[in-house]
């Protein structure tokens, strides 16, 4: 039987009149990498804050590691690791002291704490920086140190809120590798991200949220198949001629201010036809991806206006 690491039923969180998370149901299985996606203000971070017992839910039921989040916050916090979006490393302490002091909050002290810190600094490639001050670290190093810090208590569930935002590709890939390794060792991972590539690469299962509600759920592959089909044709010009052609063919297409996107299966022939008709330069064929799904489901309008 599958052990449920997180189980949410009818989970809601309201801030005054604003409903940040609105009656959502989902669960996270053991040793799964579970992704929470959604545009800004979708309710991802609020959901994560409830799971990490930082916020209490307004209504609904939430169990983490088999315990009720409202009744057993200390138990849950003792057994999970949390990597927040913003850097909250302790600038008053050196790198290794950051880990030592943080371990002490979990009652990990003395030799055990030192060994564990060293092990994690090695794991995240930070051993040479152990005596450095926090403001001497690059943002990639800070992210890695935050992850190292979140692993001090050997968490069963690791929660990461946008762990690679603003990082260079090298740092990002290093973090991905570490997460893969942790997962293979049995850690369950819950992650939010704005990078669809990251979600496709890491996640077994994905939840897409918008305006506090769940709008889609499934594996990256299943989501793409369900909402997009295999491939996408992009046409980088907008005119009446193309549009009437697409309409006449009764295609599943989307129009933006600069592009047409055509979705479906087995489109190579169509692609050749369009290229011939409307010019090769502006027409391309590619595999459908999670970003297509995301934009289709949540729309292309900017949030936070």
């Amino acid at each position: 039987m599958n052990n449920l690491i997180v189980k949410a039923k009818g989970l809601s969180k309201a801030f005054g009149n604003l409903s940040a998370v609105d009656n959502i149901d989902f669960s996270v299985n053991q040793q799964e990498c579970f992704g929470l996606l959604g545009p800004n203000g979708a309710g991802k971070t609020t959901t994560i804050k409830m799971i990490s017992c930082f916020l209490e839910s307004s209504s609904g039921k939430l169990e983490v590691l088999g315990k009720d989040a409202k009744t057993y916050p200390r138990f849950i916090k003792r057994n999970i690791g949390v990597c927040p979006q913003e850097d909250n490393l302790d600038p008053d302490l050196k790198v290794e002291d950051n880990l030592r002091v943080f371990a002490r909050y979990f009652d990990i002290v003395g030799k055990v704490a030192n060994e564990r810190s060293e092990e994690l600094l090695k794991f995240m490639g930070l051993l040479s920086k152990r005596k450095a001050r926090i403001d001497e670290l690059s943002s990639g190093m800070k992210h890695r140190l935050i992850i190292a810090r979140s692993l001090l208590n050997k968490p069963e569930l690791l929660i990461l809120d946008e762990p690679t935002t603003g990082l260079d590709p090298q740092s990002r890939h290093q973090i991905w590798e570490s997460l893969h390794k942790l997962k293979s060792e049995g850690t369950t991972i819950l992650i939010t991200t704005h990078y669809m590539e990251e979600a496709s690469h890491l996640c077994d299962r994905i939840l897409i949220m918008d305006k506090g509600k769940i709008i889609a759920e499934g594996s990256p592959k299943a989501l793409i198949e369900k909402y997009m089909g295999e491939v996408v044709i992009e046409i980088a010009s907008i005119n009446q001629e193309i549009e009437s052609f697409l309409k006449a063919k009764n295609l599943n297409y989307e129009k933006t201010q600069t592009h047409y996107f055509i979705y479906g299966n087995g489109l190579p022939n169509l692609w050749q036809e369009i290229s011939r008709k409307f010019g090769e330069g502006s027409c391309s064929l590619r595999m459908a991806n999670l970003e297509d799904v995301f934009l289709k489901l949540t729309g292309r309008e900017l949030r936070e206006l």
Partner: protein, 262 residues
Amino acid sequence: MKTILKNISWRSWRVWQRNFDVYKATWKVNFIPPLLEPLLYLIAFGIGLGNLVPDVVYEGVKISYLKFIAPGLVATTIMNHGFFETTYASFVRMYFQKTYDAILSTPLMLEDVIFGEIIWGATKALMAGAIMLAIAFIWGLVSWQAGLIMLPIAFLTGLTFSSLGMCFTAIVKNIEMFNFPVFLFITPMFLFSGVFFPISSLPLWARYIAQALPLTFLVSVVRNISLGRFHQIQMLELVWLSSLALICTYLSLGLMKKRILK
């Protein structure tokens, strides 16, 4: 009441340890202000002004001006170090460094964090008070017996001012807003709580106001101990200061929960 207090635990100690670790790492810097501040005051007011001021009659005892203000400066030191630790310093940790957020992802609850900070503020008050007392002792202004009795009182009343400071930290929007409690509350207390002159020389209405200020009570307690006495009224003053510490601690926990866990 129960819901606000239920999460306080011994884990507050971990927050105290964190602050103490940081204090130790920068102890040379931390040591200088509490050492220099009272010295400067004693030199300026005690020696400079003291040469102009004859002996003071305080509650029936005639003492030199320097001996009169030394306990007042001890009380001021306790107030300042307790209050400024949980206002400016705590606000920096909470707001700019996000230290509270980090600690909240461990088994500690917000109540542990706030309570630990208040205890730490009282510890800072104790340490600064101890340095001040040592100087006063070397100067021959306070006996060592009186000094020793004052140490636990410095911690206890340090709690009063650090919990008071935490209440302001829970409600200010930005760090500049601490100017209000400092200029409307701390500075007037420093000037009108009997540190530099007996309250009895104030006009009656001002005396009533002064009698409501926490520092007035602390000055009275410390000064009487330095004179080698401890009346029932001092006991009452301490009880009042302790009650204020309890009230402010309770209030700050509630306000902080509203601010951080809203």
